[in-house]
Amino acid sequence: MSPHILKRLLDRLRDDGQPVRTDGGTAAAGSETAGSGFDLGSTLSSLRESDAVRSAPFWLPPFLLMGFFVYGAISWNIVISFTDFGGLQLPTYDPSTFDLEMYRRAFSDGQFWIATRNTFVLLISFTGLSLAGGLGLAILVDRGIRFENWFRTIYLLPFSLSFVVTAVFWRWMYNFDSGLINAFLRSIGLDFVASKWLTGSIDTGALGAIPLVPDTFYFKLFAVIFALLWQFSGYAMVVYLAGLRAIPNDQYEAARVDGASILRMYRRVILPQLRASTVSAAVVLMVFALKAFDFLYVLFGSNPGPTADILSTMMYRQAFSANQWAYGSAIAVILFLVALTVVAPYLYGEYRRGEL
């Protein structure tokens, strides 16, 4: 064994945050003498080579299966978006006919821009609210409470349910006549607030004069966001809780000795250290928001209308209801690029920090 390998071994142990044990040291000393007769360079390179070969039977089959379905399908989808595939005839893959017509069509389609706007409204407000809600929950649960497991389990419970199930529950929650939300509002004397949450709107009145504020505000998309917040804030809580628990106790102690108030302690000492948790939770939440299709589909079918249409429902509708396959593919490619702009920097950051 060469010292290089030993060093690598120790590096790996350190990377994992485990203390380097003394018995590792003695074992290494023995192997060093055993390996002294070898040509270091060639041993190392042949070892590397053999490692690549030896590991292939394990990772290559899953890689091929996954690669075919993920990267093969994405490439195939990109190709379809260059064709005119539509209706009931089969696609023809003739490179000489490939063009960007479907993308031009999307960019001149008013519906596409509405869906894009809604997608970003959903993405940003859902992610922001879920992070805030999850952080609040995590801080409450982390205050050394009794029955912590019970509280945590209940807050995470909606996350284990399918979109179909939660959409069915929320359709009932939002029901105008007998749903829980309106029943609750009426019981505390707020009858005038009770609304048709899934179809209704409110006149913004004087506020409508402000740029970007529409004259009529439709509840639909925000009803969806609220329900998704209920379903996913528990997820953000779990991620933040792991982040909070990773902060050493003496930092809490130091802040307390300094006489910092609880609020100040969280703001100055704790929150800045939760950056990594925030980033990873935000990425996953955004991906869930892009997948919110199931929820909208159960509530509104494939056409939620202009006030709640998002790119994923529009893509499904164009492809599987209207048989506009190539157009659907082009929208899917755009959606994929949106996801990529979120995920690629995150993965690159993980790679740079050696956490991949």
């Binding site: 409450l140 399918s162 997948k291």
Partner: protein, 319 residues
Amino acid sequence: MSVRDDLAERVGVDLEAIDPLRVALYATLVGLVAFYLSPLESGLMTALKTEAEFATSPPFVPPTVEGFTLEPFGVALNTLSSAILNSIMLAVPATVLSALFGSFAAYGLTNFEWRGQLGVVALFIAGIFIPYQAVLIPLSRLWAIVDTQELLAPVLDITVFSAQVPVLGTVELATHPHYASIINLIITHTAYGIPITTLLFRGYYKKLSTEMLEAARLDGASAFTIYRRIVLPLSMPMFAVTLIYQFTQVWNDLLFALIIIPSGSGPAAVATIALNELTGGIIQTFNTQMAGAFVAALPTLLVYVLFGDKFAKGVAGNT
């Protein structure tokens, strides 16, 4: 020092002292419990009420003696039972397969060192974040081209295979060609499950003692022997986490089933599709809808209540 003392010290609060802040804290926590459980509670109460009762009483109030009925659950069970069996036939193999593949891949990518390894890892992990819309049309094309029933005919007659399930005798499995689409769905879910299962296992294998594996290797053990004798037995806790997490993911999926099961319904429908159809009707029988939601969610709810901590571990690894 107990965990509780430890926590008490770190947040600077004496657990035994009753102070207004603690009371407010617990009041908030309990209020949040009410918020998180209210859709389920009002759903359950509604599912136990007759139509006349749920239309007139507040949704969170338990049914009166006259207004109590189990009929919605009867209807829901009747309508959804075959779809739930289909979901089990889908979710169990898909979950086991993607967990096994994930374990293989993670072992091959973690406990070896070679050039370009991180690039492959990145491709695996990026697969977690794919919006499935980007693969839907190719998937529907692929499964229109590949005739699974025909391909499997020499080794497995799907119709006979289905009829061989003895306990489920009441369910007509034998005649419908749509069952091939469940196999298509199993393959699809297995493939798309591999990235997350690989990530979960990789996080675990990184922490395995390198010395032990290196020692086995110096003793001349092959990569297969090391996996079978050392890594696989040590992975059992992670298999539990992965299986539980992935089972709920596959069970809860609607989108792939919509695309891959032809006409979206029929005897091959899975639970999410059948529930969507049960509740999508024009007649607003909310009690049946709620009962249907509980019946379709029962397996995942059960898994969650029994193994919530393992599920949470899978969630925390999903980052």
